[in-house]
Each structure stands twice: as structure tokens, then as C-alpha cells.
């Protein structure tokens, strides 16, 4: 068993390396075709090493290390995502547990869900009178939908069997929520959170481009103004990798909380 899992890990690693090789190959090809207008992997790597050598320097408001930018983005993403989840989970539980709630709230969800984060930004500015608040606001309002919808779906799909247990043994409302509703829907909620953190991380770049200040999105915009495409490419790769890691974290969380696989 153990040697088998080691073999599997080794095979996965090989596939990952091969996949990265394809990406680098395509990238080099595009770079050659565009006559180096888009920088190739090598020159990007040089810039990356330069940026990574001193990630946390701070030389004034518009000149900070890439690590600083990243952490400021992450903290913004997590406050927006956290805020969104605090709203989304209780609302989802409510929607899922009552047919009336579902029918009343679902149209609102369907109308607000497809709205682009950029469209929310002015409203955020108006409400918070500051770019920082507006950014967190747009992250919250665009990332809460997957959690909301998944939570509601999870609760609504509690099998009659489980509900019957609560009825037959006279569970109190509280016991029903804690022992039946939440345990059943937690895997669904975590799936929702996983999708939501993905959305939140996607929104951050757009948000920070508008708000300015510090952050990976601002870094991209600043690099464009400084005409350093290598820095933009470094940022893109960092954004992608962080997104992948966030997804992996929530994936792990999903395995921990899934009672179905036990």
C-alpha cells in the first residue's frame, strides 16, 4: 500500500513537471514569435530572482517589495472573503431550510450574482469613502455567492431519512441544527468556500488596479506604467501559484470535514 502511494506521488510529480515544461515551451515560442516583445522565461526568471532577493523592502508608499504587495493583497482577500462568508453561510442556511426563504431570496441572488466586481466599486467608494474599504467590499460581495448557493443547496438536500430521525426522537431546533443540518451541509459549505476564495482572489487584481496603494494588483498596474513586462509576468505567475495553493488548502479542508469518505 505504502509503496503504491509513493509511486502515485512520484507519477503525479512527473506529470506536474511535464506540464510546466509544456507551459515554458509555449511561452518561449510566443516570446520568439513576438520577437521578444513579450519577454521569455529566462529574462522573466532574472527579474523574479531580483524581486525575490529582497521581497520585503519598503521605500515609500509607491515602492514596496513583492512580498509586501502579496501579503497586503492576501490580507485584503481574507477580510473580504471572511466578511462575505459571515453573511453567506447564515443566509444560505436560512434559504436552504425554508421553502419560503428560498423563493423569496433566490431571485435576489440570481440578479446580484453575475454583477462584475468593477460595477460594485463606485458603490463601495460611496459607502466607505475610502479605496481600502471599497476593495474589501467588492471582494465580499462578489465572492459570497458560491458559498451562499452551496450552503443553501446543501441544507435543502438533507435526506428525509435524516430529518425523520430528528422528528422521531423529538430533537430540539438547536439539536437539529447542530447534529443534523450543519454536519450534513458542511461538505457543501466548504465546496462553496473553496469556489468563493477562488473568486475573491480573482477579484483582488481588478480591485487593486482601481484602488491603487499596495497590493499585487497595484504592482501589475505599476509595472505596466513602468513598462516592465517581466515584472507583470512574474506577478501573473505568483498570482496563479497563490491561487493554486489557496485551492489546495480548501481541498484539504474538504477532505478533513467529509464524513462521506470515512
Amino acid at each position: 500500500m505504502k509503496s503504491l502511494s509513493i509511486k502515485n506521488t512520484a507519477v503525479s510529480a512527473l506529470y506536474f513537471i511535464a506540464s510546466m515544461a509544456i507551459l515554458t515551451g509555449l511561452w518561449t515560442l510566443i516570446s520568439i514569435i513576438t520577437k521578444n516583445e513579450i519577454p521569455g522565461p529566462l529574462s522573466t526568471w532574472t527579474i523574479f530572482k531580483e524581486l525575490a532577493s529582497e521581497p520585503f523592502y519598503d521605500r515609500g508608499p509607491n515602492d514596496k517589495g513583492i512580498g509586501n504587495q502579496l501579503f497586503s493583497s492576501l490580507s485584503r482577500v481574507f477580510s473580504g472573503f471572511g466578511l462575505g462568508s459571515i453573511i453567506a453561510i447564515p443566509m444560505g442556511l436560512l434559504m436552504g431550510s425554508s421553502k419560503i426563504g428560498m423563493r423569496l431570496l433566490n431571485p435576489i441572488v440570481q440578479i446580484l450574482r453575475p454583477v462584475s466586481p468593477l460595477a460594485w466599486f463606485p458603490l463601495g467608494l460611496l459607502a466607505f469613502k475610502a479605496a481600502e474599504g471599497a476593495t474589501v467590499f467588492i471582494i465580499a460581495i462578489t465572492s459570497l455567492w458560491p458559498t451562499l448557493i452551496n450552503t443553501a443547496f446543501g441544507v435543502a438536500s438533507i435526506p428525509q431519512d435524516h430529518k425523520n430521525v430528528g422528528k422521531a426522537f423529538g430533537f430540539s431546533k438547536w439539536k437539529y441544527v447542530v447534529k443534523i443540518m450543519l454536519p450534513y451541509s458542511i461538505p457543501h459549505i466548504i465546496t462553496g468556500l473553496r469556489l468563493s476564495i477562488g473568486v475573491a482572489w480573482m477579484v483582488i487584481v481588478a480591485g487593486e488596479m482601481l484602488s491603487g496603494g499596495v497590493g499585487i494588483g497595484f504592482f501589475v498596474w505599476d509595472s505596466w506604467n513602468g513598462l516592465s513586462l517581466e515584472r507583470i509576468l512574474v506577478a501573473i505567475l505568483i498570482i496563479g501559484t497563490v491561487g493554486l495553493l489557496l485551492d489546495k488548502c480548501f481541498n484539504a479542508l474538504q477532505t478533513v470535514f467529509s464524513w462521506e469518505s470515512k
Binding site: 431519512d161 435524516h162 425523520n164 430521525v165 422528528k167 422521531a168 426522537f169 423529538g170 430533537f171 430540539s172 439539536k175 447534529k179 443534523i180 454536519p183 450534513y184 464524513w259 462521506e260 470515512k262
Partner: protein
């Protein structure tokens, strides 16, 4: 052996006599149940009258879809009659209650709770006045009654069908209901497990001085005869009614092997067969 058997048999017939004078446990009064479906109203059972005495074991038998589960659910309170009423323990049934323990067809254990916790939550919810230690003792006693103490920390997913069924039965017994409702409790079990589960159930019933009323839905004739005092045969639905009530006058405790040669067993078995099947061979 014979000497031991005799007095029990005497006690038994006395018990049976006592049953005649016993209180009514369940009274089903002119009950009709209709459901509103997509194609209009569907009447599952119609004008059912049935009286069940305290301590009786009664089986409801019939073909699939004949409404036997519906009839039982009116006793549990999961289904409310469209017409008529059900009285259990001298109270009008308005919904599920802790005086009626239910063993569901598909066990209905909560998959995220351990065996122990599954029973504990039911006990905790029903026997509110007991201390935590008392509840703990009740759970453990009931687990040992069904020989599941070694498995108390497992999740239901790690148990076999027979073990799950024993947990469901232990859970229903743990809240000490005066009426026990079993919905095809052994339907999903293989014949061997089923046989030993029958003995387990009667053992639990005996331990409680045969005071619990047991109503069971089944489609197994042998099971119904072995366990019951009376077998209620239902007509095919829709609008199912009671076709006939067959008394099983076999002395208790019954022995699975010996009972099969008893003339009364053979008579009852034949009667039930002919009630349930119009065709008994390909020549009919």
C-alpha cells in the same frame, strides 16, 4: 429441559389471557390517508379500523405499495390521516412522540455520528431529566443488549447491515417507548442474520416483561408468524383496506426449528399464503 419449558408455557398462557383484559395500546379509528400528487388525489388506505392491546406484537403484511407503511406512519405520527384518528397510549396522535419508538426501513442512522453518539443523541433528546451519567449508562446498557459495545466508536458506514439494524433497534429501545414501530426492519438482511435478529428482538421484548407493544411492517410470512400474536393482511392498494386479521395461537417462547412442524403453524402459513397469492403455482 422440559421442566423448565413447562412453567414458562403456563406463564405464557396466563399472559395471553391477561392480554384479553389489557388496556388498548393503539386504536386506529376509521382512518383514511390521501396524498395530493401530480395526478390529483391518491388514496393510500381507506377506512381502516384496528385495535392493538398493550404488549401485543402485530405484523402488517401485504404486497409492495399496499399502504402498510402508510398505516404504520399514522401511528408514528409521520403521516396524519385525512379522515379518522389514531389514539396511542390514550392520546390522540398529532405527530411523532417519544412514547413511540421507530425503527426505520433503512436504519436512518446519522452517518457522521458514532454508534454511541447516534443512540446518545436520541436519549439526550427524549430523556431530558436524566443526568449525563444516567444517559451514558442507558446508552451502554442498550449497546450491550445488542452486543455492540466493541463497536461503539465506529461510524455507521463501517458497520454491516445487521449491525446497523441492531443500532437502530437499540436506539429505539433506549428511549424506552411503550410502543415500538418497526418498518420492514429486517428487509435488507440476509436470511441468517434475519433469523438471529428475530431472536434478539424477542429477547429484548422478554427482558421488558413483554410490556411493549410492537407493530411491524413486513412482507415475509415466516417472519410475521414467528414474531406476532396477530397478522394483519392488507389488500392491494390504492384505497387499501384490511383483508383479514389472522391470529397466531402458537405458545411462547417459540422455537424457530420446532415451530415449523406445529400443525397450527402450517395452518396459519397456508392461510396467509392463500390470502396473499391468488396463484400458487403455474398451473393455477
Amino acid at each position: 429441559m422440559k421442566n423448565i419449558d413447562k412453567p414458562i408455557q403456563f406463564a405464557d398462557s396466563a399472559n395471553d389471557f391477561h392480554k384479553l383484559t389489557r388496556n388498548t395500546s393503539i386504536l386506529i379509528n376509521d382512518v383514511t390517508v390521501s396524498f395530493k400528487g401530480k395526478k390529483g388525489e391518491f388514496t393510500a388506505i381507506k377506512d381502516i379500523n384496528l385495535e392493538i392491546k398493550k404488549g401485543e406484537i402485530v405484523s402488517l403484511i401485504g404486497h409492495s405499495g399496499c399502504g402498510k407503511s402508510t398505516l404504520m406512519n399514522t401511528i408514528s405520527g409521520m403521516v396524519s390521516p385525512s379522515k379518522g384518528e389514531v389514539i396511542a397510549n390514550e392520546n390522540l396522535v398529532k405527530g411523532p412522540g417519544p412514547d413511540r419508538g421507530i425503527v426505520f426501513q433503512n436504519y436512518s442512522l446519522l452517518p457522521w455520528l458514532s454508534v454511541y453518539k447516534n443512540i446518545f443523541e436520541a436519549v439526550d433528546s427524549v430523556l431530558k431529566d436524566k443526568t449525563k451519567a444516567e444517559k451514558h449508562d442507558i446508552v451502554e446498557n442498550n449497546l450491550s443488549m445488542v452486543n455492540l459495545m466493541p463497536h461503539k466508536d465506529k461510524l455507521p458506514g463501517q458497520l454491516s447491515g445487521g449491525m446497523k439494524q441492531r443500532v437502530a433497534i437499540a436506539r429505539a429501545f433506549a428511549i424506552n417507548p411503550s410502543i415500538l414501530l418497526l418498518d420492514e426492519p429486517f428487509g435488507a438482511l440476509d436470511a441468517l442474520t434475519k433469523g438471529s435478529m428475530h431472536i434478539e428482538l424477542l429477547k429484548l421484548w422478554n427482558l421488558d416483561n413483554r410490556n411493549k407493544t410492537i407493530v411491524m411492517v413486513t412482507h415475509d410470512i415466516e417472519e410475521a408468524i414467528f414474531l406476532s400474536d396477530r397478522v394483519v393482511v392488507m389488500n392491494n392498494g390504492p384505497e387499501a383496506t384490511i383483508r383479514e386479521i389472522v391470529d397466531i395461537n402458537l405458545p411462547r417462547p417459540r422455537n424457530k426449528k420446532e415451530i415449523a412442524h406445529d400443525p397450527e403453524y402450517i395452518r396459519v402459513h397456508d392461510r396467509l399464503l392463500s390470502l396473499l397469492f391468488e396463484k400458487l403455482s403455474i398451473e393455477d
